[in-house]
Symmetry: C2
Subunit: 340 residues, 2 copies
């Protein structure tokens, strides 16, 4: 796959070096997992069903940036999950069609590394990216496009129909499920290996001394009880386990039926403020301290929170290079933008 | 300049061939001008003051895609002048802050090849792109950001300040004028040479037989009286010279003080529906016919309009390849999004 050129294959060699340091051993033992440097191993992770092809990814990218998938014609997936802004919109609650804020005051989660999440959405109601992509497109305060409108728009543009045939075979039915699944396939490729991955692969000097201190603090405080695995998050967890969330009153989101909330990934977390399901906290150290009190039942000092945030710098990932796509022109048959 | 790799230098050789055909001679004599294939000649045209550097262009690109230049934090230059959609938004009247349509029902003109326009905006009130970029950013129904907010946002992000220093020297003042001028510099590079340019450079087979028929019709009907020069438009012209515009009542725009309206470019016109200052006509052949009656005082038949539209296909340009930029993260000092 040409898409994973950001992966540093060079770090592989360093795993053959001396025995790992105690901190590195500890990090691994606590469940933190690196993004594989090996393309085959990565592909197995992000594409267990073998659906990814270059053609589908390329088409999915077009659709990801395609504002005509929204009722108005001016909102795309990238509007709220901006690939130039850590995969988010940088606002507290997503704002969509008719300038409507998310009615539950929910914050747009990042699309980067979302392929590693066990489930999608804050309440985990969606099993994978292909399914997730169906939601925002139809949601009235987001893209507000009924399935039929999405299908009609895409099918009215011959170059899109051709691209679907090219990607799936000439008998493909360009329906809502295929359109959204293709977006999901593109999103599977949005992984961002970081210096922390290099470190986990054995490159001990990939982290600074301060970042290592932060990593140790991160583990010792117990953050990895939720922020673990390859995504450092992405699983459903009980919320307010140890105390009340300071901004619980912002919005009415209370998690899934069991009160569970999806743990956000910490990858690129320095780029994805504001934080929490309702985007109520803008400062990352404040967010760390809040988690100490609501989830771990401990008071994390300013100094310790600062150290942990320093570690988070090592989670800033190398983003895939995205060539901005040229989208095919509308035709006379293309349903017009509708702002109402 | 690495930016102009889309220009076809190969066509140069063909100018040394046999004498040009009568149609090609006619096209040149009527004032139609090709985008130069020679980088030096092109640079002289798009950058007469020698302001373009790779660093400024790269920074300008970031700013062009930067939604934090808007009050809300979710609208960028690219929202209405989408580089994937022929440089436009594909809606009749631009919609911006608070879901507000342009109060004069004005349609977003394309940014591609705008560097070749004699002036900017539909009423031509702005002399160049650097000046133009100041308008939409501040306009309440567009990006709605006061100058001070734009300056504060950018200066709150160290990576941006560094990039300005890198581009302009360490004593640069990152003020509103410098920010918008940098966007203008990026926009200067957005030129799209087409098969029609190859033709004007002497490559007679760059156009199909049908496109040549269309070109002849285009000239014979008198379209080049306004749609001429390198932009096939871009100058101020009296509007409704010969008859009333069918949709004159949509919006209250009546041109500049002299009733002059800027002629839109025909480059990429097949990609930039809907048409006219108020975006009231969606079909390109209908637009051609309307111009026949309002500007030329002639009735253009469906067949002839169709031929002219066929020629317009040859004006679809090769777009510069744009790598989607990674934008630096906000800081605690960055003014928050404001949706009101």
């Amino acid at each position: 796959m040409k898409l994973f050129h950001t992966l540093s294959l060079s770090v592989l060699a360093s795993t053959l070096l001396l025995a790992a340091s105690p901190l590195l051993e500890k990090a691994k033992n606590t469940g933190l997992i690196a993004i594989p440097t090996d393309d085959k191993a990565l592909l197995k992770l992000i594409d267990p069903n073998g659906t990814i092809t270059d053609k589908k990814v390329d088409l999915g990218k077009k659709l990801y940036f395609e504002p005509r998938l929204s009722k108005s014609g001016i909102i795309s997936c990238n509007t709220c999950h901006n690939l130039g802004l850590g995969g988010v919109d940088g606002v507290a609650a997503a704002v969509g069609h008719k300038w409507t804020a998310n009615p539950h005051h929910l914050n747009s989660p990042t699309v980067y590394n979302a392929v590693f999440f066990k489930s999608q959405f804050w309440d985990g109601r969606s099993p994978h990216l292909e399914d997730q992509a169906q939601g925002p497109m139809q949601a009235t305060p987001e893209m507000a496009a009924p399935k039929s409108l999405v299908v009609e728009r895409i099918n009215s543009i011959p170059a899109y129909v051709e691209a679907f045939k090219d990607a799936y075979g000439k008998d493909v039915k360009v329906d809502f499920e295929t359109i959204t699944a293709t977006i999901g396939i593109f999103e599977r490729t949005l992984v961002t290996p970081s210096r922390f991955d290099d470190y986990l692969h054995g490159k001990e000097d990939a982290l600074t001394k301060q970042e290592k201190e932060g990593l140790k603090m991160f583990i010792d405080k117990g953050c990895t009880s939720c922020h673990t695995g390859i995504a450092l998050g992405g699983t459903m967890q009980p919320f307010e386990l140890a105390g009340k969330y300071k901004f619980a009153s912002v919005g009415d989101f209370k998690g899934n039926a069991q009160g569970m909330v999806k743990t956000p990934t910490l990858r690129n977390i320095t780029e994805t403020a504001p934080y929490f399901h309702n985007g109520a906290i803008w400062n990352l150290a404040d967010a760390v301290k809040e988690m100490g009190s609501t989830q771990l039942g401990i008071k994390i000092s300013d100094e310790d929170a600062g150290k942990i945030v320093t570690f988070f710098g090592a989670l800033e990932g190398r983003k895939p290079e995205i060539t901005y796509p040229q989208l095919p022109a509308s035709t006379d048959k293309t349903p017009k933008p509708d702002f109402n």
